[in-house]
Subunit: 286 residues, 2 copies
Amino acid sequence: MAVATITFADRLASEVERKQSQLVVGLDPNVDLLPIELRGDVARFCCGIVDAVAPHAVAVKPQLAFFEALGAAGIAAFDQVCLYAKRAGLLVIADGKRGDIGSTARAYSEAYIEGDPPRADALTVNPWLGRDSVEPFLGAVRRGGVGIFVIVRTSNASGDLQDAVLKDGRPMWHHVAELVDEWGSETAGETGLSSVGAVIGATHPRAVADARRLMPRTVILLPGVGAQGAAVADLTRAFQSGPASALVSASRSVIYAFKDAGSDYREAAGAEAARLKREIWAASGW
Amino acid sequence: MAVATITFADRLASEVERKQSQLVVGLDPNVDLLPIELRGDVARFCCGIVDAVAPHAVAVKPQLAFFEALGAAGIAAFDQVCLYAKRAGLLVIADGKRGDIGSTARAYSEAYIEGDPPRADALTVNPWLGRDSVEPFLGAVRRGGVGIFVIVRTSNASGDLQDAVLKDGRPMWHHVAELVDEWGSETAGETGLSSVGAVIGATHPRAVADARRLMPRTVILLPGVGAQGAAVADLTRAFQSGPASALVSASRSVIYAFKDAGSDYREAAGAEAARLKREIWAASGW
């Protein structure tokens, strides 16, 4: 059983190089926004997006909330989409922001990044319950092949917790960034990148630069581009640790591009993904 | 549509009085621990527990992670168990510790505490993403009939984030407790209790007393009794705001009681629930 498994970060790095892309397409299938003929078939909509963006993106990020809102049928759709995306050569980052303690955290880890094969290649994880809530996920990461992205500083405006000022004058999220750096120290692969990633909202360029400094080995996932208003050109510093050291995630601006473009949803998503991919690669400076 | 809906906290208070119970039974169906003949049927196991504990508990708390680990079939089981528990006269607290921003948070709220009827009466919510991540859930609470329990101070040992010391010398979780008190201020029902509850680990009796002081109107959900080692007698102060102002949650010690008792799992769960109910009521001083 001691098969050397390539780490998640190394798999990601190899795909980034091959596709010259650091684009992640978020799959947020809000039923009300789908093309009318697909409102009853979220899986088909998402698989259409996968076909369209597969040449341009390194990963898709299905947002579990939208699948959960559809009940058991939604979860079946989630599974179908994850499998379809993997077969299309995309990595799958399940965006669930899960976090709990003890046997419950183990159950979440088993649900998403364990199993043979696991449903997803990586899972977003909420750190609020502390180190021992993250430990079961770190166990899965250490066994190899999968990753996590810890929610460090999100793209929204309300920093009630993340920006709370600690005794030493730093914002709370800096403390979390240091924990992420520490948690990832054992998981660095051949590229030097750790498979314990971090989510940092792209809407705060200064925070992105701070995050890069605090977590030099960490793959930073940057949501907030597109519908949320962040500019790709402001993200250059995130890529200082290598071409795969940051990923830029766009959701609504890609999957609902047809609304502005007036064309087929796949065609519009493919065109927007191709455009974003080039823009991000240029901004990354690699 | 301006029908006056009884608040979650008032419904809870009325059930607490009627049953003279503040016991919540956690449904954590870890397949490996179920009676052998039920390992393929988590829903049947949980419904058996519901039958056994319904006379003694005010609510069940299905832990989503264990259902999610079983994929779409697990979610179908979750729905079946929630419906069964409601019909047995129990309130349902979905333990998902969800938290996200914008349209995603709305999707989580729709998934669990909206709809006609909603799948659950209340949902546990993770506050790490701040006020605007909690807002969609607060909207559902304000519309009436449902509640949330915000994760303030958990029962595990690692307080990396929750116990971080702020500039003013207080632990981070005190700041979150104040936010919960504020968020709940508009939702107080006739009993004076708010439907924005808080989760406080019962394993820290001093924290329980602090939590009561910081959140006088809040229903405090206290996990950690039983398998995690907290003593019911240490929890008296949590009940200072009324008989329904605190709930004590036990999971493994009830649902797996058959392992020590050597009897039918329902019989063992019912006996342990009855015992705990009496112990908690006595400790509550009401």
